[in-house]
Symmetry: C2
Subunit: 200 residues, 2 copies
């Protein structure tokens, strides 16, 4: 049934914040397909501009082979290759604490495959943990629209079991049980500091 105004015009449903055509940069994250990296960059900016923490993603390590220096212009890298990071991607400082973490997303619904991590990243997190740093993984189950903070110690347990022939993934149920769910907030897609407070 068409609903009409008193002047006879048909009533049209207004675009809502959750509607597909609403231009808000906040509510359409899912639809825009913001990556976990973009969500974390936005969250880190949110925290830093409010003086709550200073956390940055490290630049991607690149092996440069050839550089041109054209006259009167900036140097141009002409040949380079992506190299493997020797650490995790994110670190920084929060109320005197050293934070160190990596962020991974998976389309898998039932488990998180351990092949997303490399041995040197695990080694790095162990070394930072031994120095008193706060280490964890931020794991996003893309198809569940759920992001968790998962303690490095819990990750180490599965990692070590894998090396001894155990399963090659962490069950979703374990992450949901031991991890801390991070539901998106306004302007803050991954509110991980609240979860970090629970680790201190």
């Amino acid at each position: 049934m068409t609903i009409r105004y008193p002047n006879g015009n048909a009533y049209q449903t207004p675009a809502t914040p959750s509607g597909p055509k609403f231009p808000s940069s906040y509510t359409n994250y899912g639809k825009r397909g913001m990556t976990l990296e973009e969500e974390l960059n936005q969250s880190n900016t949110y925290y830093e501009t409010r003086g709550m923490a200073v956390v940055h993603k490290k630049p991607t390590p690149i092996q440069i082979v050839k550089v041109d220096y054209p006259k009167r212009s900036a140097a141009v890298i002409k040949e380079a290759y992506f190299s493997t990071a020797s650490t995790t991607d994110y670190n920084g400082v929060y109320r005197g604490h050293y934070l160190d973490f990596d962020a991974k997303e998976t389309k898998n619904k039932s488990s998180f495959p351990l092949k997303n991590f490399h041995q040197h990243q695990i080694d790095h997190m162990r070394a930072c943990t031994a120095q008193g740093g706060i280490c964890f993984a931020i794991i996003k189950f893309v198809n569940r629209h759920e992001t968790y903070l998962y303690r490095a110690e819990d990750l180490f347990t599965f990692w070590d079991q894998q090396i001894q022939g155990g399963r090659k993934s962490v069950p979703y149920a374990d992450i949901a049980a031991k991890g801390i769910l991070l539901p998106a907030q306004l302007q803050l897609p991954v509110p991980y500091l609240k979860a970090v407070d629970q680790l201190l």
Copy 2:
């Protein structure tokens, strides 16, 4: 006069660690022209392998414009540019403390030119200091063969004075007086953790 052994053979002066032809990788740093970055990488490796701290240099940030994906080969970056870092170059964790610093060398003997720093690096160190991080600069006077740890707070003083029309450099005398001299040790070109202990 030639000194001889009882068997008549001439005594030859043995090569000493400080002699110019000695092949030790330690004593010839100056002659090999090791950069401050190389010295710090070696120092960081020294500290990490002994479980004393975990500190890394961040990769150089690069703006990638064009990447080729040849069949059966690794991706090749064909066009890229160096971009400006938004943070300092080094950070990490030492006995629960967050460390953050930049390393600069100068051939100037009488002062350290402030143009070696950018506003965003100063801003970053201020933000980290506010979060309880330990921030400093490592400054090497190449022609004096002297390297100092200089507190971020002292650097901020000169930086702020410069912005208000003050001098554009920090006098060597100030760095020598307020900074902490870092004389190279065996396998440890820049022993900065001992100096950090004085800041805690």
